[in-house]
Amino acid sequence: MPLFEALRLALQQIRAQKLKSGFSLIGVFIGVTFLIGAWSIVNGMNVYMTDKFAGTLVGVNTFHLRQRPNVNFNVDDSTWRSWRRRPRIRFADADAVTRGLTVPAITAWYSEDRGTVEYKGKRAQGITLEGTTERYFEIMTLKIEQGRPFTSQEAKAGATVVVLGHDLAEKLFVNLSPLGRSVRIHGIPYQVIGIVERQGNLFGMSLDKFVVAPALSPIQREVNPPGVVDAVLVRASSEPEMREAMDQTEAIMRSRRHLRPRQDDNFAMMTSEGVLDFWNKLSRILYAVGPGLVGIALVVGGIVIMNIMLMAVAERTREIGIRKSLGARRRDIMRQFLAEATALATVGATFGILTGIALSVLLQVATPLPASVSPFSIVLGVVVGGGVGIVAGVYPASRAARLDPIAALRQE
């Protein structure tokens, strides 16, 4: 019997017994759904982490000189306490780094806290208050949509000017141009000079609820103790230059803090790679656990299919006898039942793939979790699903093929 004929027969059989077929392919269905779904989440997170998260948090070819890492994974208490005891990064450190770097790089101070911004009685709470210097916009590639960023003169003078995030501007100034108007940050008035282009969100949190004011403006009292910054941002023009800038910064800081050669750094330099490191650890766990769960579902699915096929062989013994009496060879019968098992599993896998895709689309729409279906996972789903069918079908099919035609024909 040609393969096409066997396949047609198999699909016919599945259609004839929809309910039973439905139950029998549920295991493979769940396995493949999980495979596609979980993979798409991890895959989506991967894309998200590399493209967006790290870029948003740290910036391209950029590192942050900080007291301690700000993105952590699995840090024990004693390490954490020792980090907290470290000296803070001070204005003087920032200046020393800026002056000391011989690699072409741009630097900015950065400090932040949460606070409230008001305009004529309207209050916006939970706003990120950022105190920076003028190159900050350039380093983080923040495009100014309206108005202008503050100048180095304004930064040095600590002028009370402010650049608003997109959402914040919309919230405070409905149908009004914010430029030139005055907002209050914890009682002190600042003149709005620019609006930053919309940044979107990260895991559902808006990236557009912030104000940026010069670090030396009165905002410094809101964000940090006197003379202290959260970070010095350094952006080089290429990866190797960034590495060199990091080496130089380390040397400058070590000498400023009089660290002896055996002593560890008591400051941290975060790169986007460092942020990703945390994610890589997490995804490694997911990649290790995921296949296990998928495997269990598929093994169960395979056993179910094998059982169903053994039942089918028993039920259809007479049919097998008839086919043999009409000239079906062992391999014809074998092929027929193998095709049926494979078709069952493949139909299950197909539904699983569709459901997995639907699930990941739903996830993307309904939750901030990013999900993106990888084409490779679809291919794998089909191959693995079909493979389970073949493996599960071999034993029942060979039993069917070996049936004695006389005995099979006698069966009622």
Partner: protein, 242 residues
Amino acid sequence: MIAQEFHTGDTPLPDVIILAHKLAREYDMGSEIVRALRGVSVQIRRNEYVAVMGPSGSGKSTLMNLIGCLDTPTGGEYWLNGQKVSDLADDELARIRNKEIGFVFQTFNLLPRASALHNVELPLIYAGLGAKARRAQAARALERVGLGDRMQHKPNELSGGQRQRVAIARALVNDPSILLADEPTGNLDSTTSQEIMQVFADLHAQGQTVVMVTHEADIAARAARVVTLRDGLVATDQQRAA
């Protein structure tokens, strides 16, 4: 007319379709060995119409299975259409069943979920014919048994007589050397039985070789030759006056 004596090592005459020589079949039942056939020698020529009779336990089903290549003998030789088939392997027997033998069973043995046309197509599928040629040939076979207008009906939508006609069409579709019928009227009422027997008579008249196993004397009476088995041996082999 008695067929020419056959000896081991001989080759049958060209017009001898079935040649059984000292055919034996023993079943090992563990505690004892059952000797269902104990050396049956029969020759059947092209276009003969032979009935095989005998009480139950006489070995006629066993002989039927051997002639139909569903089983292999434990002793003796079996030649079908000039080919020695008694020592063929499983898959070769399947090919012989497909090409040389058309079965008609007492219980019809149609696939219940398949249409009449598809049932008749089955042997052609295993013969490896293309879909188009298959359908045309199957339709012709159904028309030959007078079911040209019932091709798309499922077996349960057909009467007993019609089902047996579908089975006959299926048996004929590969143009086999022999039509092998096992109690073909056993499940039919007497009127329908007469119709079906007429179909066999017509096919015989058209040149088809027919071998029919039955225990009903009036059915056997339709055949030109009656072979009677008893205790695994040929008891009588009578040619009827034409």
